[in-house]
C-alpha cells in the first residue's frame, strides 16, 4: 500500500469502519445460536432474539411470511448502512446485483411454470422489484438479453434459465469487483465463481453429464480454470472431491466426504467464503472491514432465518444444527 493510500483510505472509510467495529460486536454469538436451537418453541426463539438487532423486526411475527418480511427489513437496514458507508459505487453494486438476478430468475422460472411472480420478488436490488413483475420487454436491456438467451437455450428448461442467469450474475459481479479496485472484493468475486463452478461440476458428475455439457456450464473468472476443473471431471465423485480438497484451490482442507455430499455443498461453500471474509477483520482500515461485515451479516440473516423457519416448519434440531455455518468472529 502506497503512502497515498495509507493516508486516503482510512480517511475515506474511517467512519464506516468505526461503526462496523461496534456493529461486529453485536453479531450473534455461538451461545445465541445454541439457545435458538434449544428453544422449545418459536415464541421462545423470538424472545431469545428480542435483545438483538433483529428484535424490532420480529415483533409480533408468527408465520413464515412474517419471518421472511422481518429479515428482508433487516437486510434493507443493512444495505442502507452500506449506502451510507461512502463505499465506491461498484462495491454497493456488487452487493445489490445478486438480488436483481434473483428476481430475474424468479420471474423467468415463474413464466416457465405459468405462475405469478407475486410474492417471489425481493426489493433489495439496484432495480426496483416491480420492474421484474412487468413485461419482459420493459426489463433493463441486460436482463432482457439474458431472458432472450435463456429462451433460446430452451425455455422449457429450468436448468438453462439458472445457468444463463448465474453466468450473467457472476460476470457482472466480477466486473463490479474489478471496477472497485479492491483486491479483496476481486478475490471474493473469483471465489464465488470457483464455488459455483465446483457445485456445477459435482452436480454434473453425479448426473453423469457429457464432458462437453459440463464444460459449457462452467463460468470463467475464478481462480480455478475451467480446463483444470475439467481434467478432474473424469474422476468418480469421491475422488473428484478428494482432488478438490487436496488441490491448490479454495476448497483445500475441507472434508472430502462432506464435499462429495451435494446436500452439504452450500454449507461448505458458505464456510469457505466466511473463512475468506475473516481476512477483512485483520484489516485496520479500507473497504475490507465494511465488505466483510456486510457479507457476514447477510450470512447471519440466512442462518437465523433457517432456524426460525425450520422451527415453524417442524424441522428437527439435529437437521437444523447441520445447516449452521461457520461464524464471522
Amino acid at each position: 500500500m502506497g503512502l497515498r493510500q495509507v493516508v486516503t483510505e482510512p480517511i475515506r472509510y474511517g467512519f464506516a469502519v468505526g461503526r462496523v467495529r461496534v456493529l461486529e460486536g453485536r453479531m450473534l454469538s455461538g451461545a445465541t445460536y445454541e439457545r435458538l436451537l434449544d428453544a422449545p418453541s418459536f415464541a421462545e426463539q423470538i424472545r431469545v432474539l428480542s435483545d438483538t438487532p433483529y428484535g424490532t423486526f420480529l415483533e409480533g411475527a408468527s408465520t413464515v411470511e412474517d419471518v421472511e418480511r422481518a429479515f428482508d427489513q433487516a437486510l434493507g437496514e443493512l444495505y442502507r448502512f452500506l449506502e451510507s458507508a461512502n463505499l465506491p459505487g461498484p462495491v454497493i453494486a456488487f452487493f445489490r446485483t445478486p438480488y436483481d438476478y434473483a428476481n430475474l430468475k424468479a420471474r423467468l422460472k415463474a413464466d416457465l411454470y405459468g405462475q405469478s411472480v407475486d410474492g417471489l420478488l425481493v426489493d433489495l436490488g439496484a432495480v426496483p422489484a416491480e420492474v421484474f413483475a412487468g413485461p419482459i420487454g420493459s426489463l433493463p436491456k441486460r436482463f432482457r438479453a439474458i431472458a432472450e438467451r435463456a429462451g433460446d437455450a430452451g425455455a422449457a428448461d429450468e436448468e438453462s434459465v439458472s445457468l444463463e442467469v448465474d453466468r450473467a450474475l457472476h460476470a457482472e459481479s466480477l466486473a463490479h469487483a474489478a471496477a472497485s479496485r479492491s483486491r479483496f472484493l476481486e478475490g471474493l468475486a473469483a471465489l464465488q465463481v470457483d464455488l459455483a463452478n465446483v457445485r456445477t461440476l459435482l452436480r454434473a458428475r453425479v448426473r453423469e453429464r457429457k464432458n462437453a455439457d459440463a464444460r459449457a456450464m462452467l463460468i470463467e473468472g475464478g481462480t480455478l480454470s475451467a480446463d483444470a476443473l475439467m481434467r478432474l471431471y473424469r474422476l468418480p465423485v469421491p475422488e473428484l472431491a478428494s482432488a478438490l480438497a487436496s488441490g491448490p484451490g479454495p476448497l483445500r482442507g475441507v472434508d472430502p466426504d462432506e464435499l462429495a455430499d451435494l446436500a452439504r455443498f452450500d454449507v461448505i461453500a458458505d464456510d469457505v467464503q466466511v473463512r475468506y471474509l475473516k481476512r477483512a477483520r485483520r484489516a485496520a482500515a479500507g473497504p475490507e472491514p465494511v465488505i466483510g461485515y456486510v457479507m457476514a451479516r447477510k450470512a447471519e440473516v440466512m442462518m437465523v432465518r433457517t432456524l426460525l423457519i425450520g422451527m415453524l416448519s417442524g424441522v428437527p434440531e439435529a437437521v437444523l444444527r447441520r445447516r449452521l455455518r461457520e461464524r464471522y468472529e
Partner: protein
C-alpha cells in the same frame, strides 16, 4: 565563511528549518488526527459511551504538531530571532540549523500519519472490548517514541550549534 548557500543566507536557512519543523509536524498531526477521528466518530455514533475511551487515541497524533512548534520556538529563541533586530547567522551555521530541524520535520510528519493508522487499529480493539482501552493506548504510544527521539535529537543538535556557533 559563505555568505549564501544555494542562494539563501544563514538567517533564511535557519528560518526555513524552523518552518519545516512546524509544517511537517503540523501536517502530520492534522492527517493523523483526521484518520483516527473518522473512525472514532463512527464508533461513537454506534456507542456513545465509548467517547471517553477513544478520545485519547484521537488526540495522540496531535503531539507531533506540538514538537514541530517547540522546534520552531527553539530556533527562534536559541538564535536571537526573538530580539528587536534580525540576527546575523553565517550561511554555514544556517544550514546546520536547518539540518538540525530535519529530524523533527520528517519524523513527525510520517510518525503522526502512521500513529493515526495505528490508532485506528487500537480503536477497533476499544470498540470490541472497552476494558482493553488501556492496552490499546500502548500501540500508538510506541509510534510516539520515535517522534520523541527525533525531538530529543533536534534539541541536542540545536543546543550544540547554539553553543559552538554563537550568532551575532
Amino acid at each position: 565563511m559563505n555568505e549564501v548557500v544555494l542562494g539563501m543566507s544563514g538567517t533564511t536557512w535557519a528560518l526555513l528549518g524552523a518552518a519545516f519543523a512546524a509544517i511537517g509536524g503540523g501536517i502530520g498531526s492534522a492527517i493523523g488526527i483526521t484518520t483516527i477521528s473518522n473512525t472514532a466518530a463512527g464508533i461513537v455514533t454506534e456507542d456513545a459511551d465509548k467517547f471517553g475511551r477513544v478520545l485519547p487515541l484521537a488526540a495522540m497524533p496531535g503531539t507531533q504538531g506540538i514538537y514541530g512548534l517547540i522546534t520552531a520556538i527553539l530556533v527562534l529563541s536559541f538564535f536571537g530571532f526573538l530580539g528587536d533586530t534580525v540576527p546575523t547567522i553565517s550561511a554555514d551555521t544556517g544550514v546546520k540549523i536547518f539540518l538540525g530541524c530535519l529530524p523533527v520535520a520528517a519524523v513527525c510528519l510520517f510518525s503522526a500519519i502512521y500513529q493515526g493508522m495505528t490508532a485506528v487499529g487500537a480503536a477497533g480493539m476499544v470498540a470490541r472490548r472497552s476494558e482493553d482501552a488501556g492496552k490499546a493506548l500502548i500501540f500508538p504510544a510506541l509510534v510516539e517514541t520515535y517522534a520523541v527521539f527525533a525531538l530529543i535529537a533536534t534539541i541536542i543538535i540545536l543546543s550544540r550549534i547554539a553553543a559552538l556557533y554563537p550568532v551575532g
